[in-house]
Symmetry: C2
Subunit: 506 residues, 2 copies
C-alpha cells in the first residue's frame, strides 16, 4: 500500500509501543476499561475474536478426548489452603467474599449486613485445581474411573494492581483443563499433548510462532512439579507467555485425596495435570500482527473475512450497486475457507467512503472490496489486502474462485512475517557484556527497545536472579528443542548443559 | 415397551416427585451438589445439553440482530443502589466481596487481610442492568448510536437459602440480553420479539409447550415497567417460569443516565430492555419429558442421537460386530438431522449388556441400536426408542434412510405428549370453592398433587394475595392470548376483564 503520510494509529509502534497497543484496541473497538477496578469490557468485535478462538480450541480439546463441565465460581478458603505452594502463590491476589446480604447502615446507605458474615470466607476462583480436585476425589474409586479428561470455560479473578487490556486484568476469561491419570507417564503425556495443542493453535490459527519449553523452578505454577509453556515474541521484542500446561504430579491429589485402587487392589494417588489459555491470547494476536494503521487479523480467526463497500453518488446508482454487492455476498458465502463458509459483511452506512474504509482497516478485516458503478460495468471489484496493503482491480469471477487461496495466503504470510521478525531478533549470547548490552535500552526515549530473545547458557544461582531483576529480564523457558551442549552460564560462568531462552516479558 | 416390573428410577414420579427429579439427575449423571453451599457442578452429560441449548439460542440471537459482548463479574455497591426497586429486589441475596488479599492470622490460618479491605464493596453480579447501563451511558451520544443490541453469556450469583439442582442454585449460568432504543415502541417490540424467541426455542427445541404472558405487578423484575414470561407445566402440574423478557422503560436509563440527542437535537433518555434464560431450562427439560426410567431428551438438544451397543460372546464374534457398528456409525454420521450430522456413539465398554442398555436409557439417548451376530446376518439392528419404549428389528438400510424422520417423529411426539398433559390439567375455574378444591392436595401422601393450571378471573386486591399465599398458589401470568371477557374475580367477586393463569410454581 502506498502508505498515507499519516497513520491511523497515533502514536506509532516506534513512538510508543504500549500506548500504540491501547490505541489499536480503541480504534478497533475491541475492549475498554470498566468502572470496576481492573475489570475490562470485551466489546462485540473483540468478543467475536475470542468466540472464534473458543470454537477452534473447543474442537481441538474434544478431538483429543476431553469433555466440558462446569465447577463453582467460589472456593472455600480451607480448600485453597490444602496445597501450601498453591495458596502461597495466590493468597496475595484474591477477591474474598465475606457476606451474603446487604442492609441499610446507620447512614441509610447499603452495607454488607454484619449478620450475614460467612463462617468461612469464599474465594472467587483464581484457578480451580483445589475445588475440582475435591470433586475428582469423590468421582475416582478405581483405576476404571481413570483417566478423567475435563475442561471448563470460565471466568477467573486474580486481583492485579497494574492491569492492561487483555494482557493482565483482574477478571479474565479462560479455559482450564483438569485431568487425572493412573500413572505418571500418562499424566506427563497429557501435559505434552496439550502443550502441543496450544502450539498448533497459536501457529496455525493465530499465525503466531511460539517456542515450546519448560519453565525453570522459579517460574513454575504454584504447586506444579513442572510447567510447560508456549512463548511468543511481540513486535516490541518482548515475550508473551501464551499458554501453559502443568504436570502436577501427586501434589494436588495428595492435598485433595484423589485416590484409587489400582489393578492389584493397592490404593494409589492419582497423577494430575492442568492447562489453560485465556483472553490474553487476544492481546498476543494484536501485538503480533497489527501495524500503525491498526489491527490485522489472521483470516482463520477473523470475525469477517471480507467487507464490501458499496460506492455510489446518487439514488439511481445506489440500487444497482447494492444489488451487485448483495449477489456477490451470496456467491462468496457459498465458497468455503478453512472448512467454513466465507464470512462477508456489507457496510452500507451513510458515511464518507474514506471514513468507512479506514473503519475496516483499523478493525483488521483481511479483505476490503470497494464496488462502484465502474466496477460493476467491468464486472469487477477493487480489492485491498489488509496485511500487505496491496490493491488491485479483480474480476468478480476471480474473486469468487480465489478467495479461499487469497485468505490462505494472508494466513501464511502473517505467520511467516512474524517468524522472520522473531528470527531477526533472536541471538545466542555468550558473554556477560554482550548480555547486558543486548538487554539495555538503546536510548532513553525507547526504554523498552532492546535486542529481543537471547539463547544463553545458564546455571541456576541466586547471582543470576539478581542480575535478571536489575535488567528486568526473565528466563522464559528451557526450549524443548534445545540441544545438549556443554557451556558456561552467561552470567556466572558456572557449567551449563544447554541454552535457555532469556527475554523481557509481559 | 413392555415395562420391566421395576423401574430404573426410585422413587417414581407418583411416589415422590421432587426426589424422583434428584434421582433422574443422578442416574443420568447430569450434575451434583458441590462442597460450596448452593453451587452445583454441571457434569459432562448435563453440560453437553446446556452447550446445545447455548448453540441454538446464540444462533437465534444473532439471527435477530444481536451481538455478544462481556461485562464485569463485579458491580460496585453504589451502582446497584442507583435504581431503588432493583436494589431492593437483590440486596437480600448478594455475594459481597470485601477484601482482595489473604494473610495468615494470629492462629497461622489464612484470613482476609484487614489492610486489603475495599473502600467500596463489590457485588458478584446477580444480573447486570446497572453495570451494563453505566457503560451504555458512555457509548450512547446520539440517536445514531441506537439501538444497542447486546447479549452476554455469563455466570451470576444470587444467594439462595434453599437450592435445587438446575432449578435454583446460588451460582447459575445464563445469558442476559441488554438493549437500548430511541423509542418506547422499539423497546417494546424488542421485548416482544425476544419473548417470541424464547417461546420458539422452548417449543421447537425443548419440545416444551409454553404459555406466553405478562407478569402481574407483584411478580415483575425489580425495576421493570413490565415483565413478560414463558410458563411451562411440569409433570407434577406445577409451573416453571422458563424465560423472561423485561420492558424497563426509562427506569434504568434515568438511574444510569443513558441519554442521547434525538434527530431534533433534544436530549432524551433511552428506552431499555433485558431478557434472559438460564441453566434452569435444563431442569425444565428434565421435568417435562423424563419418566420413571430416567431422562428423556428431545433429539434436537440430545448430545447423542443414537447409541450403538455391540453384543458378542467371544473374541471371534467381537471383530465382525465392531466392524459392522463402526461402518454403520459412519453411514449414520453422513445423514443429517435438523441440519447437522447425526450424532452417534458406540458403547463398547466391558459391561453386561443389560447394564449398558440401562445406562443409556437413564441418560435419555433417543435411540439405542443393539447389534449382535444374528443382526449382522440379517443386515439389521435391534432398535429401541427411548420416548415410547417401542422396539423393533430394523434393516440397516431402513435405519440409515429413516433416522432423520425417526428423530423428527420423536421430537414431535414429545411436544405433543407434553401439550396433551398440560391440556388435561388446565381448567377454567369460576368459584372460590372450586378454586380451593383444585389447589388443595388430594391426600397427605402427595402434598404436591393438585389440579394443575387454572384460568380464572382476577381483580388485583390484597385479599387475593392472602388466599394465594395460604394455598401456595401464584399468578403465573396474564396470557397474551387471553380474550377480553367480562367476569368476576374468582376470589373476591370484583370485576375482571380477562382470565389469568394461576398455578403452584417452582
Amino acid at each position: 500500500m502506498a502508505k498515507a503520510a499519516k497513520n491511523a494509529i497515533s502514536p506509532t509502534r516506534q513512538e510508543n509501543y504500549p500506548e500504540w497497543y491501547q490505541q489499536v484496541i480503541k480504534a478497533a473497538d475491541l475492549a475498554e476499561n470498566s468502572p470496576v477496578r481492573g475489570c475490562m469490557v470485551i466489546k462485540p468485535w473483540g468478543w467475536a475474536i475470542w468466540e472464534n478462538m473458543q470454537r477452534v480450541l473447543d474442537r481441538m480439546f474434544k478431538e483429543t478426548g476431553h469433555e466440558n463441565a462446569y465447577f463453582p465460581l467460589f472456593i472455600p478458603l480451607s480448600f485453597l489452603q490444602k496445597e501450601a505452594d498453591h495458596v502461597e502463590g495466590f493468597a496475595k491476589e484474591c477477591a474474598v467474599v465475606t457476606h451474603h446480604r446487604l442492609e441499610p447502615g446507620p447512614d441509610g446507605l447499603l452495607r454488607p449486613a454484619p449478620s450475614s458474615l460467612l463462617e468461612e470466607p469464599l474465594i472467587v476462583r483464581p484457578t480451580s485445581e483445589t475445588i475440582i480436585g475435591s470433586l475428582y476425589a469423590q468421582w475416582v474409586q478405581s483405576y476404571r474411573d481413570l483417566p478423567i479428561l475435563i475442561n471448563q470455560w470460565a471466568n477467573v479473578v486474580r486481583w492485579e494492581m497494574r492491569t492492561r487490556l487483555f494482557l493482565r486484568t483482574t477478571e479474565f476469561l479462560w479455559q482450564e483443563g483438569h485431568t487425572a491419570h493412573a500413572t505418571a507417564e500418562e499424566a506427563q503425556a497429557e501435559t505434552d499433548k496439550m502443550l502441543g495443542v496450544y502450539a498448533t493453535f497459536a501457529e496455525e490459527y493465530m499465525a503466531m510462532p511460539v517456542i515450546r519449553g519448560e519453565k525453570t523452578a522459579g517460574e513454575r505454577f504454584p504447586g506444579a512439579v513442572s510447567t510447560f509453556a508456549i512463548e511468543a515474541m511481540m513486535q516490541d521484542r518482548k515475550a508473551l507467555q501464551a499458554g501453559t500446561s502443568h504436570f502436577l504430579g501427586q501434589n494436588f491429589s495428595k492435598a485433595q485425596q484423589i485416590k484409587f485402587q489400582d489393578q492389584n487392589g493397592t490404593e494409589q494417588f492419582a497423577w494430575t495435570t492442568s492447562w489453560g489459555v485465556s483472553t490474553r491470547l487476544v492481546g498476543g494476536l494484536i501485538m503480533t500482527h497489527s501495524d500503525d494503521d491498526g489491527l490485522i487479523l489472521p483470516p482463520r480467526l477473523a470475525p469477517k473475512h471480507i467487507v464490501m463497500l458499496p460506492i455510489y453518488r446518487s439514488a439511481e446508482e445506489r440500487g444497482p450497486v447494492l444489488e451487485y454487492v448483495n449477489s456477490l455476498k451470496r456467491e462468496l458465502e457459498d465458497q468455503k475457507y478453512d472448512g467454513e463458509p466465507v464470512r462477508v459483511i456489507i457496510d452500507d452506512r451513510d458515511l464518507r467512503g474514506g471514513e468507512k474504509n479506514w473503519h475496516h482497516v483499523k478493525r483488521g478485516v483481511p479483505l476490503r472490496a470497494e464496488v462502484g458503478p465502474r466496477d460493476i460495468a467491468d464486472n469487477a471489484v477493487f480489492l485491498s489486502r489488509r496485511d500487505t496493503g496491496e490493491k488491485q482491480k479483480m474480476s468478480r469471477a476471480d474473486l469468487v474462485q480465489t478467495i479461499d487461496t487469497l485468505l490462505a495466503d494472508i494466513q501464511t504470510g502473517l505467520f511467516e512475517r512474524a517468524l522472520k521478525m522473531r528470527e531477526a531478533h533472536t541471538q545466542e549470547i555468550n558473554t556477560l557484556d554482550d548480555f547486558r548490552a543486548y538487554f539495555t535500552p538503546q536510548n532513553a526515549k525507547d526504554p523498552e527497545i532492546h535486542g529481543g530473545f537471547a539463547l544463553c547458557h545458564w546455571h541456576d544461582d541466586p547471582a543470576v536472579d539478581e542480575l535478571l531483576k536489575e535488567l528486568k529480564v526473565t528466563i522464559r523457558c528451557i526450549p524443548l528443542d534445545a540441544p545438549q551442549e556443554a557451556g558456561k552460564c552467561v552470567i556466572t560462568g558456572k557449567p551449563s548443559a544447554r541454552r535457555v531462552l532469556f527475554a523481557k516479558a509481559y
